[in-house]
Symmetry: C2
């Protein structure tokens, strides 16, 4: 077959970068010692994302588990980058792997990594967590907090978590849940203003 109308370049290139406000919002030198500190970082990312109008109310981060060193952050970038896949967790995992030059955060020679997210992951992100190589996941708001506000989380079942746990992934959920839920509510209030004036 011939590549008549379009070559591989013409098929396009996807570029994924963080919004400019991240430079002023993230202290890369800080060490995050507790799960509460880690979740609060992702909640702040979610809130800044809403306030800057750059996406939905979801933030995420990848850290080294032992040191609390921040490796990468992500935030919902679906509308900003016209890309349905770019949930906060996906952006954080992609940027962490880009930075470390590996498709597995559990690659030989690397310290253990964890993913922190301001809200329980959707079905897509839960799958991505399995492939990412993170050993631990810390979540803020619960799935029910998201669905109560009409965010669809997709086909996630208790057995989905069991599947990941059986493969050695540890979960800590509901950390700073009220603070994390508050940013979902903030977004809903603002969306209400935009769509139902």
């Amino acid at each position: 077959m011939s590549g008549a109308g379009r070559d591989a370049g013409g098929a396009g290139e996807v570029r994924i970068a963080l919004p400019p406000w991240v430079a002023g919002a993230v202290d890369w030198e800080r060490r995050y010692g507790t799960d509460e500190e880690k979740v609060r970082l992702t909640v702040r990312l979610a809130q800044e994302n809403v306030e800057h109008g750059t996406g939905g109310p979801f933030g995420a981060a990848v850290l080294e588990s032992a040191t609390g060193r921040l490796v990468a952050v992500g935030m919902n970038s679906v509308v900003r980058l016209s890309n349905a896949v770019l949930h906060g967790e996906i952006v954080a995992v992609m940027l962490a792997q880009q930075q470390l030059g590996t498709f597995s955060l559990a690659a030989a020679g690397l310290p253990a990594h964890e993913l922190v997210t301001s809200c329980d992951p959707c079905a897509m992100c839960l799958g991505a967590i399995l492939w990412s190589g993170v050993k631990r996941v810390v979540c803020g708001a619960a799935r029910e907090d998201a669905t109560a506000l009409q965010f669809d989380e997709g086909p996630v079942f208790p057995a989905s978590y069991d599947y990941l746990r059986e493969r050695g992934i540890v979960f800590a959920r509901g950390v700073c849940r009220d603070e994390a839920r508050a940013v979902l509510e903030l977004y809903r209030r603002r969306s209400g203003v935009i769509y139902n004036p």
Copy 2:
């Protein structure tokens, strides 16, 4: 907080492009009239990916349902781009949305789109399908074909498909299953040569 050691640019940019061989392997002018033709395209993408050493044995494509016009193709790019998220379906969806400038392939004014994949989607990709806006999914090899060859498909259950069906997504599975399974076996044979000489 100050952006001391790294700014948003320093946090990196992810770039996703197709391998060069795609230009010679895909006829963008062709119309794909049947599910068999569509699955064979994705199987060919999977096979070329293996033969060129650019990734795992999984290919995908996004097409307009009514016309059979090809919008975007994808193939497993996890190792090539050091990115665990880049399964064939994810690459095809991202490139289709990039090309159409929208985060939903079901956006107003667009014709209905479908995703075709050489193998049943993993948990991550099934979630991505839900968010992508495609109305129909066509699959070649079955989940069991993949897992029999030690490919992990993640937490996918019958209820996962039900969840998507309830939201209006139609599935046609097992199309050209034998041809699609053969490329999985090809990859396993080659991997056997590489890892177990």
